[in-house]
């Protein structure tokens, strides 16, 4: 911490951000552990809510406001509900208690986890990180960085890129969504039985 240029206020702001970051990190990781150790599948789905909220908070804290809100809008409002419905549909056990996991499964899961963790740490270390505000100063004319510094948020820049440089992926997404729609409609119609609740 370079205390030279900063007064007490600045230092407090810095530690304030650190506090928020660690709180959000805890909010992400604790429910993640909850998902793994929980015995009840529905509880796992609700634990996931905590993780998703924590990740959304991290996005917001990193000034990626549009991404953070999309996380809430799509993942919590849509996918988490979907997941819950799916669990309630498919599970035969009335109390949703997970069957005991066998030893070899645990061992392979741990192995896989270690591999993923090493890979992630490796790639984090290899990436050259710079903050958005630093990025503007050395003449990197990054539009999104400027937008963040000006307080305009990221949605406009994101949209500009999405509709110019990345227009093809944007339209391909709509085809992907079309495939999902058609698939869902097909499955829905194949099984016409079932009363209403």
């Amino acid at each position: 911490m370079s205390a030279a240029g900063r007064g007490r206020e600045g230092e407090w702001a810095l530690s304030f951000h650190a506090i928020i970051f660690w709180a959000l990190a805890a909010m992400t990781i604790v429910p993640a552990i909850g998902i793994v150790v929980s015995k009840n599948i529905v509880h796992m789905a609700f634990w996931l809510l905590g993780t998703l909220l924590g990740v959304a908070g991290l996005y917001l804290h990193m000034e990626a406001d549009f991404l953070g809100m999309t996380q809430v809008f799509v993942y919590i409002g849509g996918i988490n509900v979907l997941l819950l419905f799916g669990i309630m549909l498919t599970n035969r056990e009335p109390l949703y208690v997970r069957a005991a996991v066998k030893r070899p499964a645990i061992a392979s899961a741990v192995l896989l986890g270690v591999v993923v963790a090493v890979g992630l740490i490796q790639s984090f270390g290899a990436t050259e990180w710079h903050t958005v505000k630093d990025a503007v100063a050395p003449g990197l004319a990054d539009a999104s960085a400027k937008a963040v510094v000006n307080g305009d948020g990221t949605a406009a820049t994101l949209g500009t890129y999405l509709l110019s440089d990345y227009i093809l992926p944007f339209e391909i997404v709509s085809i992907l969504l079309l495939v999902v729609l058609v698939g869902a409609a097909y499955i829905a119609r194949r099984d016409p039985e079932g009363g209403s609740a």
């Binding site: 799509v74 549909l89 944007f170 969504l177 729609l181 097909y186 119609r189």
Partner: protein
């Protein structure tokens, strides 16, 4: 986000968590505590619940949810477009959105035609 906005949002979030907790604590402090077995049983119009409540239910709801998650994603994609539309030069922008919406419109048409969500 500006610090002042972030702080304000955090305060509101804190309040949102604190108010219900305070309300429940107050309710516990002032309310009586006279538990009886019947009072703590599941509400079932005076009968014993015939089956466990947490049963499987019709797949229809799941299908509805799948369909609408697709549209959720679509709406999320359209928000940046809508934000830019007024400042943009118009028709190229408009065409890009029409293609996106058109493809999904075809999907919606198929879903309706196929009667995927008919509730018999």
């Amino acid at each position: 986000m500006e610090p002042s906005v972030l702080v304000s949002l955090l305060i509101v979030l804190g309040l949102a968590a604190a108010i219900p907790v305070v309300m429940v604590i107050l309710g516990r402090a002032f309310g009586p505590k006279r538990p009886t077995e019947v009072k703590y049983s599941v509400y079932e119009c005076g009968l014993e619940p015939p089956v466990d409540a947490r049963r499987r239910f019709t797949v229809k709801f799941y299908e509805v949810a799948v369909l609408f998650v697709v549209f959720d994603v679509e709406v999320a994609f359209l928000f940046p477009w809508a934000l830019l539309f007024k400042k943009s030069s118009g028709f190229l922008f408009f065409g890009e959105m029409i293609v996106f919406l058109g493809i999904l419109g075809v999907g919606l048409f198929y879903v309706i035609k196929r009667g995927a969500l008919e509730w018999e």
